[in-house]
């Protein structure tokens, strides 16, 4: 499974990418929206794990942009924020919504669920 991680927290996204790699996932990561779009242009991903709030662009906006590039890409929102608006928006955007911190096993289970759906 090829996964795109997008989060402005570099420490978080690099570590998570490495851990997923240990578990056999092909992982790319980006800490800026523009980098994420560039990666999507270049590679084909099964799934993207997006932060809800990033400088400049929200996770929902990025999802829309990525969907334009790759129509079949699945999404998981992984965020430290849990506001009502985020929760409603994230849950209703045909995506899974997880709040940090999350166990790697839980994340992987959700990733598989999302890809199968």
């Amino acid at each position: 499974m090829r996964v795109l991680l997008v989060d402005d927290e570099t420490e978080f996204v690099t570590t998570l990418a490495e851990r997923l790699s240990f578990r056999g996932f092909k992982v790319d990561y980006a800490i800026r929206t523009i980098d994420a779009l560039a990666l999507a242009e270049k590679n084909e991903y099964d799934l993207a794990v997006l932060d809800m709030k990033m400088p400049g662009t929200s996770g929902l906006e990025l999802k829309g942009l990525l969907e334009k590039i790759q129509k079949d890409m699945k999404f998981i929102f992984l965020t430290g924020h849990g506001s009502e608006a985020d929760y409603v928006a994230g849950s209703s955007a045909s995506a899974c919504y997880l709040v940090k911190p999350v166990k790697i096993e839980t994340l992987i289970a959700k990733m598989h669920e999302a890809v199968k759906a």
Partner: protein, 579 residues
């Protein structure tokens, strides 16, 4: 005292908040006092004033009526007596003018005249002819008075000047009260003679006793010296002096008020009888005459008292009702203000919690991933040899991160549901979430919490945020009421097809019956000294009502309290508004 408290309106029983952001708009006791006083004065003063005027007017009117009636009776009696005397004088005058002296000196003729006079005018006792020397030359009557010489008597001298004479009442030879009337006739040669007759006073007495004098009224004649001439009912005997002053001469009938020796108020009517030595006296007791007034007065005063009582009762009742309604409205306003403030506070707490949770979640996530990576390095690579102590330490870090994550997620979950929204809820889960906030307190205070959830509990449509607030308030209260080692029992079961019932029982300090009756009232608190606002259960009550549910509480002082919350499985229909 307690009975009085029972009737005291709510605004009177409560202490008033006169300062602070949630002060009452009005001083209700003062408003009530002003309302009662002002309306009482405006209604009662005119009533008392009018009644007072009516009282005096009626009294004066009855007094005046009594005086006038007595005066009228006196005036009529005066005319009757005057007429009686003048009629008999005229009869004698007619006799002396119609008959020659020779006829009058014949006994049989005089007797015939007396018989005719008696037939025409009652009261004539005898008849006598007296010559100018004062000697009675002819006499017919029951006594033998012929030849009697009257020349030395006062009346004979008086008649020579006036031409007629009416005597006072006297006993005379017969020892029977009677009076004398006499007329003088002057012949052409200048000589004269007198026709004299004794009149029985019985007719006088009949005249006076026939007057319509109510009660202890009395009518009699006196002479100008105040000596009683005819029998009286309640005064002295004939020929005794009257116990009052002799009225001054007046051509008219007069009336005056006088107090007798017994202290009784009397109305005395007097009238001088013209051309006679008599004064008519009518005496009435004023108190007796005023009896109808006293009856009227009792009715008037009774009416006034009843009217004032009714007015005061209505004023008190209506003022109390109005001021109490104002008070309840103001209480509702204050309660709404508090509720808004409470909601705002909760929303602020929610936003703060969400912000804190977000800020903490990101570093927590980094810790989580870094620790996880270390473990992965030990697990998935050969770089580092397996070290079970390090793996244990990393697992401990990961467990702590997971624990922190649960706390922040719970905070986020609580904040997320503050705003009102109907969604599918499972009551057991909500209670568990709420207890999640209180687990540590329960642990520290050694409070055991037992949850009994029925198997057939359905998910149902309700407002998660409101349910959280409801159970948080009630379980918080239960925790406050319990001491160390307390026990909290929570039981949730389905009731019928459409309801679910949650029962929360603690073994805390409980409440008295008096407190129990006020527990849902705004601002009622048994914890004011330790910072209670008295709004928690009031707001809880309001929230349950908004959800279409019911709340019931039972408590025994020193034993504990049970709250029973019944919730509908369908949310209440919103009120339709006209567009």
């Amino acid at each position: 005292m307690s009975l009085l408290n029972h009737f005291k309106p709510a605004f009177w029983q409560k202490s008033e908040l006169s300062t602070g952001p949630f002060r009452q708009m009005f001083n209700f006791r003062r408003i009530w006092k002003i309302a009662v006083l002002a309306t009482s004065l405006v209604t009662l003063i005119p009533l008392i004033f009018i009644t007072s005027i009516d009282y005096n007017y009626t009294q004066k009117s009855i007094e005046s009526e009594n005086l006038l009636r007595t005066l009228r009776i006196g005036s009529n009696a005066r005319r009757s007596i005057s007429f009686f005397l003048s009629e008999r004088l005229s009869a004698l005058t007619f006799v002396v003018r119609e008959n020659h002296i020779e006829n009058l000196t014949r006994p049989e003729k005089l007797d015939s005249i007396l018989t005719n006079l008696r037939a025409s005018f009652n009261g004539f006792v005898d008849l006598g002819v007296i010559d100018q020397n004062g000697v009675q030359i002819n006499y017919v009557g029951p006594y033998s008075l012929e030849g009697k010489d009257y020349s030395s008597q006062e009346w004979f001298k008086e008649i020579q000047g006036r031409g007629f004479y009416i005597s006072e009442v006297f006993l005379g030879f017969r020892n029977v009260p009677h009076l004398i009337i006499a007329v003088k006739y002057t012949m052409p040669d200048g000589s004269f003679y007198v026709l004299r007759s004794a009149l029985d006073t019985t007719r006088f007495n009949e005249l006076l006793s026939g007057l319509e004098l109510s009660g202890r009224g009395d009518a009699f004649l006196i002479n100008h010296g105040g000596v009683i001439q005819t029998p009286t009912l309640y005064h002295n005997q004939v020929f005794e002096k009257i116990p009052y002053a002799v009225p001054e001469y007046s051509e008219h009938t007069e009336i005056r008020e006088e107090r007798n020796k017994a202290g009784e108020n009397l109305i005395i009517c007097s009238a001088y009888i013209p051309d006679s030595p008599y004064i008519l006296i009518i005496v009435k007791e004023k108190d007796e005459l005023m009896k109808p007034w006293r009856d009227t007065r009792f009715i008037l005063i009774g009416f006034l008292i009843i009217s004032m009582t009714v007015i005061l009762v209505v004023i008190l009742g209506f003022s109390t009702y109005m001021v109490n309604s104002m008070y309840l409205l103001d209480q509702r306003r204050l309660s709404s203000l508090h509720q808004v403030e409470y909601s705002n506070k909760l929303a602020s707490i929610g936003r703060l919690a969400a912000g804190v949770a977000h800020e903490i979640n990101n570093p927590l996530a980094i810790i989580n991933e870094k620790a996880g990576l270390i473990k992965d390095i030990f697990t998935y690579t050969d770089t580092c040899p397996q070290n079970s102590r390090i793996i244990d330490l990393i697992d401990s870090v990961l467990a702590s991160v997971e624990r922190c994550g649960k706390i922040t997620k719970r905070l986020l979950g609580f904040a997320r549901h503050i705003d009102s929204a109907i969604e599918n809820v499972q009551l057991g889960n909500i209670i568990s979430e709420v207890l999640g906030f209180l687990n540590k307190e329960a642990e520290y205070r050694n409070i055991s919490v037992n949850i009994d959830l029925a198997d057939n509990l359905p998910e149902f449509q309700s407002d998660r945020g409101k349910l959280q607030q409801i159970f948080l308030n009630i379980i918080n209260n239960a925790f406050s009421a319990m001491s160390v080692g307390g026990r909290l029992e929570i039981k949730v079961q389905r009731e019928g097809e459409n309801e679910v019932v949650a029962t929360i029982t603690d073994n805390g300090c409980g409440m008295s019956d008096t407190d129990l009756g006020k527990i849902f009232e705004p601002f009622f608190s048994t914890k004011t000294k330790i910072g209670g606002t008295g709004l928690g259960l009031s707001i809880t009550y309001g929230l349950i009502q908004e959800l279409g549910g019911k709340i019931h509480v039972t408590s025994r002082l020193g034993e504990g309290t049970t709250f029973t919350i019944t919730l509908p499985l369908q949310p209440p229909h919103p009120v339709k508004r006209d567009s």
